[in-house]
Amino acid sequence: MNGRGQIILGIVIVAAALAAPLVFPAFRAQIAMLWIMVLFALTWDILGGQTGYNTFGNIIFFGTGMYAAAVFQRDGGFDYFPGLFIGMGLGAVISVVLAAVLGSMILRMRGHYFAIATLGLGIAAGEIASGWNFIGAGSGMSPPLFPGAPGVSYIFFGYLFFGLALITFLILAWVYRTRFGLALNAIRDNEDKAEAMGLKTDTYKIAAWMLAALFLGLCGGAAGNMLGFIDPRDTAFAGATFGVWMVLMAILGGKGTLWGPVLGAFVFHVTQEILWTHLLGWQRVALGLIIVGIVVFFPQGILGWARTRWPERFGHRVETP
């Protein structure tokens, strides 16, 4: 896809996204969730796809943002909207700091040790949150009610999440083209060589994780308000649902590409919304099967598959012998 094609596609998607909540009022909640999913997949791909550091634990930033915003709204004494936005900002700041601290500890590990450490962090965060009375422990927290008619909140949050996802996408599209993005790709391709070439790989990795944490923190703060209830294990630090979905969506779409996670999130979310309600009780069985299926039979993802199928469309020159 060339640059102009991408811009046209982008305009079409933005127009469709702006119109969607008004055209399909019955699906407003699902549309808002879709943008959260896009954000999940995009932020996972910064470290997972572009840098080659697969994490299971990005969900901690989402949950941290959610709790930080809810606590600020509870104790800050502001009106709804200032409280929400300051809370989101606070959540993002705390998430970024958390990413810097945790990252400087565990991002020095290589490959699968890092993956398992993040798995541990994600679950530990959920367990700690469900034992900590200040944030409601196991019975969770309820953020303040959205002022206005019930249907309006989904329009507001739908556009808010769309805006967040769009900003994330644009910033990532820019970042991946800079020296920073190239450094991340160099780390993915061969970390030892990248280090030998003089790149401060640890710094780049930590910065990449902080970038992911920034957007996830912002998203989490608003998501808690939209969902209306924060459960430590099932919404905030939902490792077994959101945490796995973000990995899956990025891999399904094609990890290490800009559009792949977006595509993966669309395909996954739409399929899930259609099928999920019919699978009552068997959803996680289906999720397990999907994970195994994608990982075993389709690890290159949709875009990766398309790239090998039509290499010339992606700007690769095909040498004919």
């Binding site: 565990i106 020095r108 590990m109 962090l121 679950i123 034992g131 996680r284 999720l287 397990g288």
Partner: protein
């Protein structure tokens, strides 16, 4: 928290109680950990589904008690059933990811663990289950320290299983093939070992070990569809601390972990026990990494 620490000073026998409980619990971790080390060393796969195998072994034993069979028979039955399941999973899934990037196999086994969790939840429901073995309790030191006899039986069973495994790996033909494959799969293939079958057997044996461990867990403690992952993480920690293929180390690390965890649960409160396990995982990984870096500096 400080009140709980004060309790140790007021009542020193509690120290013995907590320590004994922890050590008896830890022996079971060691079994699952040895299976994980086996799969990791031979196949280079980190098996996240380990904990679910343990839970499944427990549920199978629980099912036997529903049919009126004594749970001690659950140990061989669970091991046999899990062996078959392990072989099946190997040929269905694991075989296709063995030679790929380690993260692929990590994610594949993670998918399997989610699948098994929910299947167990559908079959046996989301309640905590135990199997009554009908054994009594020993009282020590004027009734201040209590030990469930079944816990001692479980601990002894775990040690015996470990011994059987060592003998199997050292003496039997298949055990030798497994060790050869672990050392160098390519050379093993050249010398006529069917590594595919060795991998299948290794994975099956691992599952069987976990099943037996699960039977011990359900008798001495309890099982639940969603508490498998802590067992996986415990096995992983033990393997990291003890190293691959070091059985005495695995058993020691297992006992130590059990004791540490029990003390943490007593001091911090039981609701933080799982959080402690996962935090300890991160700490162990960080420490390991720092030590490795330190070593590398000397080499430079």
């Amino acid at each position: 928290m400080l009140d709980n620490l004060q309790l140790f000073v007021d009542a020193p026998f509690l120290l013995i109680q907590v320590l004994l409980d922890g050590i008896l619990f830890g022996a079971i971790f060691a079994i699952a950990a040895y299976g994980m080390a086996l799969v990791w060393g031979v196949m280079n796969v980190i098996n996240i589904v380990q904990g679910e195998f343990v839970m499944l072994g427990g549920f199978i034993t629980f099912q036997l008690t529903l049919w009126g069979i004594h749970p001690l028979f659950g140990i061989p039955v669970a091991a046999a059933v899990l062996f078959v399941i392990g072989i099946g999973l190997y040929y269905g899934v694991i075989r296709r990811v063995v030679d790929k990037d380690m993260f692929i196999s990590l994610l594949a086994t993670f998918g399997l663990s989610i699948l098994l969790q929910q299947l167990m939840n559908q079959i046996w429901g989301g309640d905590v289950r135990t199997a009554q073995s009908g054994l009594g309790t020993w009282f020590l030191f004027d009734y201040t320290v209590t030990i469930g006899q079944i816990k001692v039986v479980a601990c002894a069973g775990a040690l015996i299983l470990g011994l059987i495994l060592i003998l199997f790996l050292k003496k039997s033909r298949l055990g030798q093939a497994i060790r050869a494959t672990a050392q160098n799969p390519r050379a093993a293939r050249v010398l006529g070992i069917n590594t595919d079958k060795v991998f299948a057997a290794t994975y099956g044996i691992n599952a069987a070990l976990c099943g037996a461990a699960g039977a011990l867990v359900v008798m001495a403690y309890s099982v639940h569809p969603y508490i498998g992952l802590p067992y996986t993480v415990r096995s992983f920690m033990i393997v990291i601390v003890a190293g691959l293929g070091n059985l005495p180390g695995v058993i020691l690390a297992g006992l130590g972990l059990g004791a540490a965890e029990n003390f943490a649960a007593f001091i911090l409160g039981a609701q933080f026990q799982v959080a402690f396990v996962f935090c300890l995982l991160v700490v162990i990984l960080v420490v390991r990494n720092t030590l490795l870096r330190h070593k590398r500096k000397y080499l430079k």
